[in-house]
């Protein structure tokens, strides 16, 4: 298993509430959280929100309960789509986000996105309202039956710290949705890790080559090791000696 993650903490402008959310998540044992910004694609001329840098939100990130490391905070964007618009996910405005999510508002779009991606079930709505609780459970049970318990993550979509629950509690909630013990635990750990790694590959070329901008603005931006570095022997170019 990997560390516990909650990849959906709703963003609010209230800085103290955001800090409180992150502190509560660290106290409950989550090692990684993602702050979720929402973007409605259908509203004309709406701009992609710019994420607040994490160090502006919280100077010193709290230590995760029971471990010695501080919590890791990522930025996530959820694009709400109701029609098949052209959505260029490699656009510059999306590069500030570590994770991208799509919230299909119609069933048609749902089928279009079902291949090869993780599905997310959020539980905080079930905490807030009893009608939503019934819908959440019913929909989650159907989803689990369809995807057979794989490729599923459970997250909070919490707006307030009181809407967060501990990872083992959410793993038990997964049992209610029809997941097995192992699958339910994976839904808050390994599956989330896959999502985060997948998000990292968006910034690379095919998940293999990672490019960084050098300090000196050279036109060739490919990462090239300097000639005197400790490159592995097999890859060192032959030096012609005279």
């Amino acid at each position: 298993m990997s560390v516990f993650m909650d990849l959906n903490l709703s963003y609010t402008n209230d800085k103290s509430r955001m800090q409180s959310l992150i502190e509560t998540a660290a106290h409950l044992g989550y090692s990684t959280v993602a702050i979720n910004y929402t973007y409605e694609l259908t509203i004309k001329k709406s701009k992609v929100p710019v994420p607040t840098p994490i160090k502006d939100l919280m100077e010193k990130l709290p230590i995760v309960q029971g471990r010695c490391r501080p919590i890791r905070v990522l930025n996530r964007l959820t694009v709400v789509m109701s029609e098949q618009c052209h959505f260029k996910k490699t656009g510059r405005e999306f590069s500030a986000y570590d994770l991208l999510a799509v919230q299909p508002a119609t069933e048609k779009l749902f089928h279009a996105v079902e291949r090869g991606i993780m599905f997310e079930v959020s539980y905080s709505a079930a905490i807030r309202d009893s009608t939503m609780r019934r819908y959440t459970i019913a929909n989650a049970v159907s989803l689990v039956e369809t995807c057979k318990g794989k490729n599923l993550i459970l997250s909070s979509a919490a707006e307030k710290p009181l809407e967060l629950r501990g990872p083992y509690d959410i793993s038990n909630l997964g049992l209610l949705f029809g997941l097995s013990d192992g699958d339910a635990k994976e839904a808050v750990s390994s599956a989330c890790r896959s999502v985060v790694l997948h998000g990292e590959t968006r910034k690379t070329a095919g998940g293999i080559v990672h490019t960084m901008k050098c300090c000196s603005e050279t036109p060739d931006q490919q990462e090239a090791p300097p000639a005197d570095c400790e490159a592995p022997a097999a890859k060192r170019a032959k030096q012609l000696t005279e």
């Binding site: 471990r67 010695c68 029809g178």
Partner: protein
């Protein structure tokens, strides 16, 4: 809804009845094999204060050390191996690391170093290891197990060098570490290692509770056919956690009840010791309790429970241990006046069968 909702995660309970006088008793081996003990609790019925001999055992449990941010390659240090690991028994386990989330380290007294690593760390380390037995769909946890006393791991050897290089330059694994050494009078052998890092010595924490009007299963005879192990274990756990078994309607919905037939003892003493506790000290405690029971008492039994670390990479012997919902690995020893005992060994879902 699926029918499996009423099932709890798998757990194992092994129950055994024997006598200390029996030649074939395995109690010594069973106690010895649970290397990393976190808590020992003793329940003494009809007793308000522990007798002095028993108290002295509690007070003379081995001290242990906490080293902050110890680089794990230091456990391969030649001097440490020669003066501590090869000589006596060194018990070490990583502290504040979760077995299902972090990288965990354990050093057993026979010189076995076990590293339970996540996928990334294992791939970076580059040493031979096996996937965890408790991986679910994906292989996300790996176990590297080395015998430091084996000739292939002698300092300077290939296996040793590879692991040392891996821990020193590739993975650079650092963790808080709990360390204890038996026999205790050779702790000077640990001083060289301790002096290099931020360390502190700790005494095990002892707490005592006097319980009044406690409902107990009627354990007057050791022929306890009516009380099944599960109910008995629930009761022992409830007493240890100070949970009432009265099941009164005014209190919170607890359905924990004392198994029938039951009796009431006017008072009982519950003593707990917490820390990195060694099997050797548990043995001494068992022997002392046997002496205590030889004297006539109102109630002729004592219950001793020993809990292992929930986040230890190994439980009994060198068997792999992990956490699914709970990482319990403990045993409960119910001792009687006639030197007979009932032993219950319990583990959680991600564990192997206790010995």
């Amino acid at each position: 809804m699926r029918a499996e909702l009423d099932q709890t995660p798998r757990s194992l309970l092994v129950s055994e009845r024997s006598s200390f006088r029996d030649q074939k008793t395995r109690i010594r081996a069973q106690v010895e094999q649970l290397h990393f003990n976190y808590k020992v609790s003793v329940l003494l019925p009809e007793c308000c204060s522990a007798p002095p001999h028993l108290d002295s055992i509690f007070n003379t449990f081995n001290s242990f050390y906490l080293i902050r941010n110890l680089p794990v390659y230091e456990l391969l240090d030649k001097n440490f191996l020669e003066t501590a690991v090869y000589q006596g028994s060194v018990y070490g386990v990583s502290y504040r690391t979760r077995i299902d989330e972090d990288n965990c380290v354990a050093l057993t007294p026979k010189g076995h170093l076990t590293l339970s690593l996540d996928k990334d760390s294992f791939e970076i380390l580059g040493v031979e290891g096996k996937p965890s037995r408790f991986n679910h769909r994906t292989k996300c946890r790996f176990v590297v197990s080395v015998d430091l006393t084996d000739s292939s791991m002698a300092p300077g050897g290939r296996g040793y060098q590879r692991l040392l290089t891996g821990l020193r330059s590739r993975l650079q694994l650092k963790t808080d570490f709990l360390l204890s050494h038996y026999p205790a009078n050779t702790t000077t052998s640990l001083q060289a290692l301790l002096s290099r890092y931020d360390w502190s010595e700790h005494r095990p924490q002892i707490s005592r509770h006097t319980l009044t009007d406690l409902s107990c299963p009627a354990l007057l005879t050791s022929d306890l056919q009516s009380c099944d192990p599960h109910s008995f274990m629930e009761w022992v756990g409830a007493v240890d956690a100070n949970v009432s078994c009265e099941n009164s309607s005014s209190s919170f919905l607890s359905s924990l009840v004392c198994p029938e037939p039951r009796t009431t003892v006017s008072r009982a003493l519950s003593v707990s010791v917490c820390g990195l506790l060694l099997p050797h000290d548990v043995h001494r405690l068992i022997q002392e309790i046997r002496c205590y029971l030889e004297q006539p008492h109102l109630e002729s039994w004592v219950c001793l429970t020993v809990h292992g670390y929930a986040d230890s990479p190994v439980s009994w012997g060198d068997n792999e241990h992990s956490v699914l919902k709970g990482g319990e690995n403990f045993y409960s020893l119910l001792m009687f006046q006639d030197d007979t005992y009932h032993l219950h060994l319990a583990t959680g879902a991600h564990d192997t069968c206790p010995p």
